[in-house]
Symmetry: C2
Subunit: 341 residues, 2 copies
C-alpha cells in the first residue's frame, strides 16, 4: 500500500519520526484509519478520560517480540492483551490504553498497517479504548522492526485485591489451561529449531473469565498472568511474598504433548516458558472446585488444580515429579531460551 | 559498580530481560534502590492509584534520544518532564508515571544507574510518583543504549481545557522563553557539527508555571509544549484545528544569538527545532500582559507575545520577518535535521 499520492515511499523513513507533516500523515493514514476516532495519537498531548470510580489500576509493558507475527497472534494483539491481562489480574476492569511505537527506519508500511488492524481487532474484542499514542522512528539497525509500549488504566472492581495477607496453607493453586505454547510458538516462528510443530500462541484477553470468577468466588486471593518467566516465575515470586511454601504436582499441570516433546528434546523446562493467556489463581480450598467449574464452563476445559500452599519449605516452590520425586523448583538466574520478548 | 556479589557483570546481558532472577536483581539493585518504595516495577502487574477527581489526563511518549546524556539533561529527565509537560498543557496536574525500559544488551550498568538517579531527581522536583514499570532487554544492535517510554496520569483542574472553540481573531500567541536550544544541545553533544557551542537543553517541568497561570488567567484558551516539530509545528497544527490564521513576528520571538548563529550557518529554521521546556499559549487579548507578567515573575524573564490569531489566511501560519517580509510558514514534510528523538 501507499500512504498517499504525496507519499511515494512504502517504507518507513526517518521523516516519519520528525513530528512534521510526514509524522502526521503516517498517523492519519495508518493509525487513525484503523483505530478510528478514539485514538488521539499526537493530536492532543494527553487524552482526557472519565472514570467512575476512584481506585484505578495503572500498568505499562514494552513488547519487543521477534518475529512480529507468529501462529495465532502478533505484536499488536500482544500489546493489547498483555496490558489488559496485567490489569485484570489486579481485579481491575481494563478501560483505557495508550500506545508508544518505536519504529525502525525501513519497515514496510504494509507491516505497520497489518499491526494496526490487529490492534483494532484486539481492542474491539477486549472492549477497551485506545486514547493516546506516540510514534518515534529510529535508524535502521536500532530497533527490531517495531517495539510497542502499552500503558493501561483499569477500574478496580474489588477493593484492595489481591489479598496476599489472607493466603494460608491449604489454599489451592489453579491454572486455567495448558502452558508453554506462546514461547515455543514464537521460537518456532523464528526458525530457532531444526523441526516444525503445530504450536500456536495462547495470546488472549483474560478479563471476561476473571470478572466472572471475582463475581462468583470471593475465595480468590491472588491472580497473576504467567508471562515472561512462566508459572515457575510467578510461583517463586509469590512464595517469597507470602512466606509459605508452594507445592505443585507435575502430573496435574496441563501441558500439550507436543510442548512436552520439544522441551524433552531441547532440555527446556516448560514451567518457565512464557504464556500469554494463562494465569495462576490462589483460591480458598472450599471454593477451588467452583473456580474450576466456572473456568470449564467458560472455554477453559483444561483448567486444573495443580498444587497448594504449604506451611513447610517457606518461600520455596516444591515440585512433585510424575515419578514421585520431590524437588525444589529453583528460580533460574537467567533464561535457558533465546529472548522472545 | 556491580549489581551484587552474585552478579559479576557490569554490563546488561540478555538474562536481565528474562523475567527471572537476573531481572529481579536488576530491578531491585538499580530501580528500587533509587526510586524507592513508590515504584512497583514488576512486583505487581499494575499499580493501584487513588484519584480524587473524575477527569483524568492520560498520555504516553517514547524517548529515544541519542546521546543519552547532553548538556543540562539526559534521557531520564526527558522521560519525566516530557510526560509531565504533556499533561500540564492539558490543564492537568501530573500525578502518576509509569516507565517502560527497553535496554540494549551490553549497556553499562553504571549508565543505567546514572539514568535512574536522574529520574529520581526529576520525579522529586516535579512531585510525581512513579508507580509502575517494565524492563526488556534486546540484543546488542537492536536498540540505541536505552529507550524509555513514559506514560502519565494527571487530574484535570480545568474542566474541558483547552477551549479551542473559543479562540477568536485578536487572541495573542505567547511563548515562555527562548527556543531551539534543546535540539541543538543534543546535536552538539552528538558531535554532528565541526564546531562547539555552549548551548544547553531547556528541559524542565512546566506544571508549576502552568498551574499559576490557569489559576490567575481564565483567558488562557490553549497551551502546547513545543517539542518535536518546534513552535512552527505547534502553530501549524493549531491553525488547522481552529480555522483561523496565525500571524507571528520574527523580531518578537526570543532566541539566543548562538542558536540563531548556528541556524544561519547550517540553514536550519529554529522555528522547527525541538524544545523541552517551552510552551505556546493562546490568550485572550485583555489578559496577555498579565500572562507575561506572571511568567516574568516566575523565572521566565524572556516570555513574549509573539503574534496573534487572525481572520485572514485561514489554517495557515504567517511569519513577518525582521526585514518586514511576510511569508507562509510551511509545515515541512520531514525534518531538515538528524533525528534527535
Amino acid at each position: 500500500m501507499r500512504l498517499s499520492t504525496n507519499m511515494v515511499e512504502n517504507k518507513i523513513t526517518l521523516s516519519h519520526g520528525s513530528g512534521l507533516q510526514a509524522t502526521k500523515k503516517l498517523i492519519q493514514e495508518i493509525f487513525l484509519k484503523h483505530l478510528g476516532d478514539e485514538i488521539l495519537l499526537s493530536l492532543q498531548d494527553s487524552a482526557i478520560i472519565n472514570v467512575e470510580k476512584e481506585k484505578l489500576a495503572f500498568t505499562i509493558d514494552s513488547y519487543t517480540v521477534n518475529p512480529l507475527f507468529f501462529p495465532s497472534s502478533d505484536i499488536g494483539k500482544l500489546a493489547i492483551y498483555g496490558t489488559i491481562n496485567d490489569l485484570a489480574v489486579m481485579g481491575a476492569k481494563p478501560m483505557f490504553i495508550s500506545l508508544g511505537f518505536i519504529i525502525e527506519e525501513g519497515l514496510d508500511i504494509a507491516t505497520l498497517e497489518k499491526i494496526a488492524i490487529s490492534i483494532k481487532e484486539a481492542k474491539n474484542r477486549a472492549k477497551v479504548e485506545i486514547v493516546a499514542g506516540d510514534t518515534k522512528v529510529v535508524e535502521k539497525g536500532k530497533c527490531d522492526g517495531v517495539y510497542i509500549t502499552s500503558s493501561g488504566i483499569g477500574v478496580q472492581i474489588l477493593d484492595s485485591f489481591p489479598f496476599l495477607n489472607s493466603i494460608v496453607p491449604g489454599d489451592k493453586v489453579i491454572i486455567n489451561g495448558t502452558i508453554g505454547e506462546h514461547e515455543l510458538a514464537v521460537l518456532l516462528a523464528r526458525g530457532e529449531f531444526k523441526f516444525q510443530a503445530d504450536i500456536r500462541s495462547d495470546c488472549q484477553p483474560l478479563w471476561e473469565i476473571i470478572e466472572k470468577l471475582l463475581h462468583n468466588c470471593p475465595g480468590i486471593k491472588f491472580m497473576r498472568d504467567a508471562t515472561r518467566g512462566g508459572i515457575g516465575g510467578v510461583l517463586n515470586e509469590l512464595a517469597e511474598q507470602i512466606n509459605y511454601g508452594i507445592q505443585i504436582y507435575e502430573d496435574k499441570i496441563p501441558v500439550r504433548e507436543e510442548v512436552k516433546g520439544i522441551c524433552d528434546i531441547l532440555g527446556f523446562d516448560y514451567l518457565f516458558l512464557a504464556n500469554e493467556g494463562k494465569f495462576i489463581a490462589i483460591v480458598e480450598e472450599s471454593q477451588a472446585q467452583k473456580v474450576i467449574e466456572i473456568m470449564k464452563d467458560s472455554g477453559y476445559p483444561l483448567a486444573s488444580i495443580i498444587g497448594e500452599v504449604r506451611k513447610e519449605f517457606s518461600q520455596k516452590v516444591k515440585l512433585q515429579t510424575i515419578k514421585g520425586g520431590d524437588r525444589i523448583l529453583d528460580f533460574p538466574y537467567g533464561s535457558q531460551f533465546p529472548r522472545i520478548c
